[in-house]
Each structure stands twice: as structure tokens, then as C-alpha cells.
Amino acid sequence: MDQLQLLTWARGNGLNLALTIFVLGVIWRLIEIYGLGRKPDLSAPRDVPGASGWHTIFRRSVPPPGMFKTSPVSYLGGYVFHVGLAVVVFLFAPHIELIKNLLGVAWPGLPSQMVDFITVVTMAALVVVLIDRITKPVKRFLSTFGDWFTWALTFLPLLTGWLAVHHLLLPYTLMLALHILSVELLLICLPFTKLFHAFTAFGSRWYNGTVNGHKGVPV
């Protein structure tokens, strides 16, 4: 199999396989998690504006009072790499083209050079959060194989994509194939690792906001 064939496989059967597992995994895991249900709260609710699951879904994206200065690296690094990932994934024209092909929806992209810059910043942020994970006692204490593995899963698509665009290390075609394959690996692993927080974080925030919102606490 030559490079173009590998690329074509990655764009064809590979993508098919990865998306199949991804869709399968996401739906299965979501049902598995939320199918457990919860008991209704029989206590009399306290109605306070702003105290609800929906509010918390959004509000929790902002650091609670005092937290930013205790962990600036976690917050800054986290913001930069999450926003950066979102920009790179959803605003790079070739990626939009993929989404258009998959879902039939499209939107304007950003200039490729800007995406290139954001990719570098995002990778830098990921390296910073990795160093933070290694050096901070709490993070290191909590870290399992899954944490290192998912870091790599997130970093590789950025790195291979960036290397491909810049024709570094390997021929573009091969690097592009590796880039797509790394994304496919990410898709396959996402439902079964902590990366699934991309879906459940919203559910978790909603539950937290709802349970505490019932008490009139806008968390």
C-alpha cells in the first residue's frame, strides 16, 4: 500500500470504521449512563432566577470566584486548548468541507494561516497542561494511563495536521494520511475514555445545576 492508497483508505474505509465506532460508542454510552435515571426530588423547591441546569451548563464555563488565581495554568491552558481545538476543528476550511460532506452543513472558515497560528498556540497550551500534569502533585497523583493516553490522542491530530501542512518530517500525503488516521483513533477512543466528557460534561453540569438549583443555589 502506497501513501496515496493509505490516505484514500483513511478517507474511505478508515473513516467509515472510525465513524461507525464513534457513533455506536456515543449512543451506547449515553444510553448506558443516562439510562440509570434518578429519583425525583420530593422536597419543596426554592425558585431562584439563574438557578437551573441550563444556567449551569453555561455558567460553569467561567471560573468560580477566586479559582482562577489558584490555578491559572489549568484555566488558561484549558481555555486555550479547548477553544483552540474548537477553532482548528470547526473553522479550518478542509475540515468544514468534511463536515459538509458528512452532515450537509457548512459555514465560513478562517484564513488557513490564522488556523495555522492557532494550531501552534493550541499545541503549546497542550504541552503546558502536560507539564502542569507532570509537575503538580495533585494532577500527577490523579493521573492514570488514560490521562497520558488521551493527551496523546488529542495532541497527535494537531501535530500531524500541522506537520502535514508544513511538509515536515514526512511527505505530505503520508502525513495527511497519518493525520486522518490519528483523528480516527481519537474518534474511536472518545466514547470509552475520559474524552467522553465532551458529551457528558453537559449532562453533569445540568444535573449539578438542577440538583442545586432545586435548592435555589445558582451553582
Binding site: W9, R11, L15, G25, I27, E97, G109
Partner: protein
């Protein structure tokens, strides 16, 4: 064209006979020097070498092909220097071009092989079918047998066109004839791949000129291609590249973006994964190349380009219609519901087995 003889006629003389000035010839040499990354003074060296070069014997064999490669080389709108290089070689066998036919033609080939054993160049266009010897024969001889026999005495083999290099169209899925390229069969001597459908004429002549000038083949990359012509992707040298960098893409072939010359990536241009010199040397004497004409690169010089997901599909788009559909969703839901059913059962069982805690139950 005539059945060439082995007479050593000066290149310049023959060029002049064809109405091409020495100035034009030197210009051609300068182009080659630049292509090979040689200093400007090398143009003179090339010119001198070409002037003195003996006319080497060349055997050109066409297998499963469309003659497009030969056409590209010879049927230029106006006679070009590329086509005239052919005048400088002793093209001893080319069954499309040669006057002789039948036994006489085959005899010419055998004669050339015999006379120049170990020194002649073998140029091949077209792929070789391995599925059945009868799929493609010349004078009753299978392509495979003829290639192997002729290659034996060749100094080097130049595979011209994507069919000869990688199998090309005949090898496209499902490859009914079992077509392969030359370098999959010839392992014991240098094989230069000059892919393209067709290859850029100046690249073909450039390889020949290099051989004539320096007596050896140009430096090749991992795919056997001359690095000088295939070292960079079309995307990298494309004049529309700034639009790619700015994120300006034509969405259809006739929209405002297309008219303004925006990048054709989203229309399926394969420039990024295609290594060739189209964007720099261009075609027809530097007039244009596909992207300049408003059509994306189809990647014709890359292996398996026929099967690379469609000419009009962006590189980042799925190469084939995806099959993730209702079936997968239903299966996923089934797994989820099954697990949930088990989970609920487990939870209920735990609840049913719950013995109300009394104070004693706090102690082990």
C-alpha cells in the same frame, strides 16, 4: 517520422534543420540547468555536451496505454524543443511512430538491441498485464515477455506515464488485467519513473537530456522519480496558494470565487498530494496548466490516482460514501438499551435485597 539510422549527426545541425535557432537551444539548456539546480554556467556545459553527444539508441515500447504520452510529446501545437530532442536520439523502435511494420519493425528492435547491447535506453509507456498473457501482445509476444527480453540489454529503463510507472488506468479498481508498472517487474537495473497522465513533455526530454549530458540518470526519489521535477507538490508552487492561505475557496466552477481565481481545494483539487512540476514548467511551452485553466489538479502523476476518492471531492472529504447510517444508530441504541436493561435489573436487585439498616448493622 523515419526509421532512424545510427549516424552521428550534430544536435545543433538537426535543430537548425528544423528551424530552431541556437539562441532557442541555449534557452532550453538554461531551463534544464535551472531544473536540475545547477549554476547558470552549466547551461553552456549542457549545450556543449548535447552538441557533442552521440545519438544513443532508444527503444520505445508501448503496452497497455492510450498513446497519450507519445501524443503529448510529439503533437504539440507548434514544434517544440522537447519534441525535437527526439530528433537527436536514434529512436530505433516505436511502433506508433516508426514507418516499418510487422516483421521489419520487430527486426529493427532486435537489431538495435544487438548493436547497442548494454547501452541502449528503454522507454516504456503503458502498463503490463499479469493476469493473462493474451490480454496485450505485440507481434504475438506478450507485453511481459517483450519487456523482460528488451530490458535485459538496456542501460536503463525510463517508465513514461502513470500506466508504466504505477499501472495507471488499467490498474484502477478492480484492475481486470492485473496491470502493473515497470518497476514492479524490473529490479536489476535503474528504472526512472516519469509519471503523469500524460507526463509533462519537458520532463521526459529533461530526463533524456540529463542522460545525454552527464551519461547517467538524474537523482531519483523513493518512488523512482527525478527529484528535480517531482520534489515539490503542485500545491506548494501553485499561483493560487495565497487564496488557500487566506481561506478563499471557489465553491463551484462558475462562482465569483472561481472567476477571481480562488483556490480550488474544495472543488477537489489534488494539488496538495500531487508531486509534479506542472505549476512551474507548465504545459504547451509554459502557456498554462490545469489549475490555471480553472480545473483542480486530479493528481494524475500519483500512484492510484484513479482510486483516490474522486476528482471533485475535497481531499478532506470522505473518499467514499459513508455507510454509518440507521443500522449503526439502531445497533448502538440496542447496545445501550441492553446495558441499561441489565443495569436497571442490577439496581433493582440491589434494592430488593436491601435490608433496612438497624443500629446493629453499623458494626462489622
Amino acid at each position: 517520422m523515419k526509421n532512424s539510422t545510427n549516424l552521428a549527426t550534430g544536435v545543433v545541425a538537426s535543430l537548425q534543420a528544423a528551424g530552431i535557432s541556437r539562441r532557442d537551444f541555449l534557452g532550453f539548456c538554461a531551463t534544464l540547468a535551472a531544473a536540475y539546480s545547477l549554476p547558470a554556467t552549466a547551461a553552456k556545459t549542457i549545450a556543449a555536451a548535447l552538441e557533442k553527444a552521440a545519438r544513443p539508441s532508444v527503444i520505445w515500447m508501448s503496452f497497455q496505454e492510450c498513446t497519450g504520452c507519445s501524443e503529448a510529446l510529439t503533437r504539440s501545437h507548434t514544434p517544440t524543443i522537447e519534441s525535437l530532442i527526439l530528433e537527436t536520439i536514434s529512436l530505433d523502435y516505436h511502433h506508433t511512430l516508426q514507418a516499418a511494420s510487422g516483421e521489419a519493425a520487430e527486426k529493427a528492435r532486435e537489431q538495435a538491441m544487438h548493436d547497442n547491447y548494454g547501452k541502449y535506453l528503454l522507454v516504456v509507456d503503458g502498463s503490463i498485464p499479469l493476469g493473462n498473457a493474451g490480454f496485450s501482445t505485440i507481434a504475438g509476444v506478450s507485453n511481459y515477455d517483450m519487456l523482460m527480453e528488451t530490458a535485459k540489454g538496456a542501460a536503463a529503463v525510463i517508465a513514461v506515464g502513470t500506466c508504466a510507472t504505477y499501472g495507471g488506468l488499467p490498474a484502477a479498481q478492480p484492475n481486470p488485467t492485473g496491470a502493473v508498472g515497470v518497476n514492479q517487474l524490473i529490479k536489476d537495473k535503474p528504472v526512472v519513473n516519469v509519471p503523469g497522465c500524460p507526463p509533462i513533455p519537458v520532463v521526459i526530454t529533461g530526463v533524456l537530456a540529463h542522460f545525454l549530458t552527464f551519461g547517467k540518470l538524474p537523482e531519483l526519489d523513493a518512488l523512482g522519480r527525478p527529484k528535480v521535477f517531482y520534489g515539490e507538490s503542485i500545491h506548494d508552487r501553485c499561483y493560487r496558494r495565497p487564496f488557500y492561505d487566506q481561506g478563499k475557496f471557489a465553491k463551484t466552477f462558475d462562482d465569483a470565487g472561481a472567476r477571481d481565481g480562488w483556490c480550488l481545494f474544495e472543488l477537489g483539487c489534488k494539488g496538495p498530494v500531487t508531486n509534479n512540476a506542472c505549476a512551474t514548467t507548465k504545459w504547451n511551452g509554459g502557456v498554462s496548466f490545469p489549475i490555471q485553466s480553472g480545473h483542480g489538479c486530479i493528481g494524475c502523476s500519483e500512484p492510484n490516482f484513479w482510486d483516490a476518492g474522486g476528482f471533485y471531492k475535497a481531499l478532506s472529504a470522505p473518499a467514499q460514501p459513508l455507510k454509518v447510517g440507521a443500522g449503526v444508530t439502531a445497533a448502538a441504541a440496542a447496545v445501550g438499551v441492553a446495558v441499561t436493561f441489565l443495569n436497571r435489573g442490577k439496581k433493582s436487585a440491589a434494592k430488593a435485597a436491601h435490608e433496612t439498616t438497624s443500629l446493629d448493622d453499623l458494626e462489622k
